[in-house]
Symmetry: C2
Subunit: 225 residues, 2 copies
DNA sequence: GACAGCAGTTGAACGTGTTCAAGAAAGGGT
DNA sequence: ACCCTTTCTTGAACACGTTCAACTGCTGTC
């Protein structure tokens, strides 16, 4: 009956282990959840978990993907409704925080593993590439669906720059210990108008050389030649 | 003969362990260096290392302090010689990278522990406060020793903002996999003129409201009220 | 000079993430 | 029916960071 009769068994075990792990992470926290506990709770041997997941960190990838999808869903109504660039950006950023809010303490503890450059969980790693592209796509939507007049050269780079800015906001959020992370909310509300103004200014003739310089810098840094 | 006859012995062991650890970190990398190896190489028992350092991570604090001092020393000649703001800033940033260069691979692995918000090694933690103040002091020197005319309100905040920017550069450097981290060098060379120009513009009447807005944002985010 | 107290030191032991050789289960081909 | 390959599963074993109860040796006190 299943889609892939041959693989059904393995896939089932994989899901079982993943579900169990995420549940325990939520209940006890990441560090406090041992691989032995995951295996025991799932009713398999510890080695079996390592057959499906290269490491404990790799279990978090599932969390990533889930939140990624939730971000898009939560942001959708705003992107549907608003046409103003600032409103769109603001909506998407707040939506991102909304989605992650329940996991703030959990995120703070596992963040250290994601921060390691060589980690597959790093937002810049090759293994996160699909998730990263999906995230950038949201910001491409922010830009392309907006009524703002934007310099064409900037428009091309803007989604990725906004995503980078979003990573900065997330970084701030992880460190934000204020109740309900309201400082992060203030940061968003404060910085969006500034970005909006800058983007608006991008079409001015006078600022063309400066813009070119910035874009050239971004480009020279991105590729290593 | 020593300065503190009573404490001489303990302090000596402490230094020995720290020296050995940092050497092994440099030679083999952080993760690859085991506490057992440090102890053996230093000729002491494992438990002894834990008598002086709460954890393996805490050994990095010594690295922090040392590099902090080295940064100041390396930057001193430039600050002595140059009076131009851009030249001073550029010199200090490159000096910082120079000092950290030998530890790049090591830094990348230990960075994950520093990134955890609750870690005492976090640059924003209370325990790093002295090191942080010392680092900001360098940028205060950059600002105050320069010939640049800077808006007074900005001048007050600029050292901390430059330090924050420096943290950003370090973050980029940690992720920089290009040979000799030349992309980081390019980032510095590219971004310093931009900052210089912005700082120069800060005195313009027209931009006064925008500057005020930015400073207000920074202030409202810093304190949680 | 005996003693108490404390800084300094030891290494076995614990719990952790991870590995691996071995085996079980499930098909597919003949 | 038989084997052979591939997929899946096992749990003991390994190396690591860390802890801790026990021990050593120094130093100031009487």
């Amino acid at each position: 009956m299943g889609e892939r009769p041959r693989r059904a068994r393995g896939e089932q075990t994989r899901q079982l282990i993943l579900e169990t792990a995420l549940r325990l992470f939520r209940e006890r926290g990441y560090t406090e959840t041992t691989m032995r506990a995951v295996a025991k709770e799932a009713g398999v041997a510890v080695g079996n978990a390592y057959y499906y997941f290269d490491s404990k960190e790799h279990l978090i990838q599932g969390f990533y993907d889930r939140n990624q999808a939730a971000h898009r869903t939560t942001a959708a109504p705003v992107l549907e409704r608003e046409k103003d660039f600032a409103a769109r950006l603001r909506g998407v950023l707040h939506a991102g925080i909304d989605v992650n809010e329940p996991y703030h303490s959990f995120a703070a503890t596992f963040f250290k593993t994601a921060a390691e450059p060589s980690s597959p969980l790093s937002p810049f790693s090759r293994e996160s590439s699909p998730a990263r592209e999906a995230a950038i796509a949201i910001f491409r939507d922010v830009v392309e669906g907006s009524s703002a007049k934007i310099d064409p050269e900037l428009r091309k780079e803007l989604p990725e720059l906004l995503w980078l800015g979003w990573m900065g906001v997330v970084l701030f959020w992880v460190y934000d210990r204020s109740p309900g992370q309201r400082r992060t909310r203030r940061l968003i509300d404060g910085i969006v108008p500034l970005i909006d103004r800058l983007v608006g200014l991008s079409r001015l003739r006078v600022l063309r050389p400066a813009l070119r310089q910035v874009l050239a810098l971004v480009d020279s840094i991105r590729h290593d030649d």
